[in-house]
């Protein structure tokens, strides 16, 4: 088998592979940067919780109109926003902390989502919703995913400064500008949007993987914010392509393959990453002059 057969032929020969390639590229553009900010704001688990929370909304969309892109997208968006706001309100209005209320919300969401899909549809439908169909992306879905990527990049460009400053020094931001609240809400909206986009390709359970794994991985290689964003986006795309190829050659399910590639990359980064990886800390290197 030549390198061409291994890397290029699958995409050259099959349209569904090309569509999947475009899909993971568009997903990476949004998920990479959003994941970096989720990680830096220590909201990694929030992202996870919100990904699960999207399920019942998408499931209700499915209940109403079957595997319909529009209905499931709207349902997913509505549920994501509802859970984000609801968990925030419960955390503020009661004694419970935000992480615990998030956990409560997402567990209930996940269970009700699986319940709804199972009542109406088949196990295949359930698998579709939980793990996505990156190899079955049709035109409208691709346009949606690409649109979400575009909106994400443009929005990030608009809220970049307040978003960064709100992470570093929120009281300073509050003293010079009122944009902190807006940028926070805008950012949460991006998280939900990208999770919904990822949901079509990777399903509700795995969509957050293409956000968090590349971001966490990038942290082991670079320290600068701009580089983090670029590297995370690149890693997300490379994981996507590698996962697609593995799933093609090995006949493995594509969504899990993509996430597992990213997971393997994460393991390698934890060990070999120069910016705080295990080896870089354990290596008996002489200390420097200054």
């Amino acid at each position: 088998m030549t390198l061409y057969d291994l890397l290029v032929a699958p995409f050259a020969e099959f349209e569904f592979m090309r569509r999947a390639l475009v899909g993971v590229f568009a997903l990476s553009l949004g998920a990479g940067p959003v994941g970096v900010f989720l990680m830096l704001r220590r909201m990694s688990l929030t992202g996870d919780a919100m990904a699960h929370a999207i399920l019942p909304g998408a499931a209700i969309g499915f209940l109403v109109s079957g595997l319909d892109l529009f209905a499931m997208t709207i349902g997913g968006l509505a549920a994501g926003v509802l859970v984000a706001v609801g968990a925030g309100v419960v955390a503020r209005a009661t004694e419970i902390k935000e992480d615990a209320s998030m956990a409560a919300f997402y567990l209930v969401s996940l269970a009700s989502g699986v319940m709804i899909v199972s009542m109406k549809g088949s196990n295949v439908d359930l698998l579709h919703v939980l793990f996505g169909t990156v190899l079955g992306l049709d035109d409208p879905t691709l346009i949606l995913v690409a649109g979400i990527g575009t909106v994400s990049l443009v929005t990030l460009a608009f809220i970049w400064r307040p978003l960064v400053l709100e992470c570093v020094d929120p009281s300073f931001l509050a003293s010079v500008s009122k944009s902190g609240g807006v940028s926070h809400i805008g950012f949460l909206a991006l998280v939900v949007l990208n999770l919904v986009g990822g949901f079509h390709a990777l399903g509700t359970l795995l969509s957050v993987g293409l956000m968090m794994l590349p971001a966490a991985m990038a942290r082991f290689w670079v320290r600068d914010l701009t580089r983090l964003v670029v590297v995370a986006t690149g890693i997300a795309f490379v994981s996507g392509v590698a996962g697609l190829l593995i799933s093609y050659h090995a006949g493995a399910p594509s969504g899990p393959a993509i996430i597992l590639v990213a997971g393997a990359g994460y393991a390698v980064s934890v060990i070999f990453g120069p910016a705080g990886g295990v080896l870089s800390r354990q290596l008996p290197r002489r200390h420097l002059e200054a």
Partner: protein
């Protein structure tokens, strides 16, 4: 002289409990004022109130038309996430927010000003370092460089020299004196009376309300300090409603 700040029967606090109580007085424009007093005297609360981050429970603060953006405020323990991967250069550049805002470009003139500010605090060569790698003194220098760029008429410093070595304090004090020379109004919460006596013409000795306010030498007299200590902390769960003003 014109007034930069005028307090009228000011009460500032949390959950109806005043930390600053019945404060009256005027800070002249261009004044260099030290705010002293025991822990719990309401010094930080007063700074928050002046900056606009805390609303008065009672009374008022007249800022002589200053917008909140004309006030640069360095809190005591800034809630800065030191692990965030931002460079010293970018951190300092944030001081230009008023000019640059959300999208404004950082032009050549701005770059010069940023470089000057970094040089003024003695951090040349540190531009690309992330703030997580800085020592406490270097971090404070970074924040002072940001204050420089904020170009504010009123500067509030809450314990700016705590836990810093003598060299850093001297360097940063030079900046404070430079602001004073530029006729900016500077208020600094300080605990080092020797430093206050040497560098600050006026002092407000605070113990919830003003114990003494005026020329530093008179304010920091032993009898005032003793009085301030006695009037110190007071948070009484079952405190009665204050009838003083009504």
């Amino acid at each position: 002289m014109t007034a930069q700040l005028r307090f009228r029967d000011l009460a500032l606090g949390y959950e109806r409990h005043p930390a600053v109580h019945h404060l009256d007085g005027v800070v002249e424009a261009g004044d260099l004022l030290a705010v002293c007093g025991p822990n719990g005297a309401g010094k930080s609360t007063l700074m928050k109130g002046i900056s606009g981050a805390l609303r008065p429970l009672y009374g008022s603060i007249d800022r002589a038309g200053l917008d909140s953006r004309d006030i640069a405020y360095l809190p005591q323990s800034a809630e800065i996430d030191r692990s965030f991967p931002i460079s010293v250069y970018d951190m300092v550049a944030m001081g230009l927010w008023r000019r640059a805002g959300l999208f404004g470009g950082i032009g050549k003139a701005d770059r010069t000003r940023i470089a000057e500010a970094i040089a003024a605090v003695g951090l040349e060569g540190f531009e690309a370092r992330t703030i997580g790698t800085l020592s406490g003194g270097q971090m404070q220098r970074t924040l002072f460089a940001r204050l420089l760029l904020q170009d504010a008429r009123l500067i509030l410093l809450d314990e700016p020299f705590t836990a810093l070595d003598a060299k850093t304090v001297t360097d940063l004090l030079d900046l404070v004196r430079r602001w004073h020379g530029e006729k900016r109004t500077v208020l600094a919460v300080l605990h080092d009376f020797d430093l206050v006596r040497e560098h600050f013409p006026h002092t407000l000795l605070l113990a919830r309300s003003a114990v003494a306010w005026g020329p530093t030498a008179e304010v920091l007299a032993p009898e005032n300090l003793l009085k301030a200590r006695r009037m110190g902390e007071a948070w009484d769960e079952s405190a009665e409603v204050c009838e003083h003003a009504a």
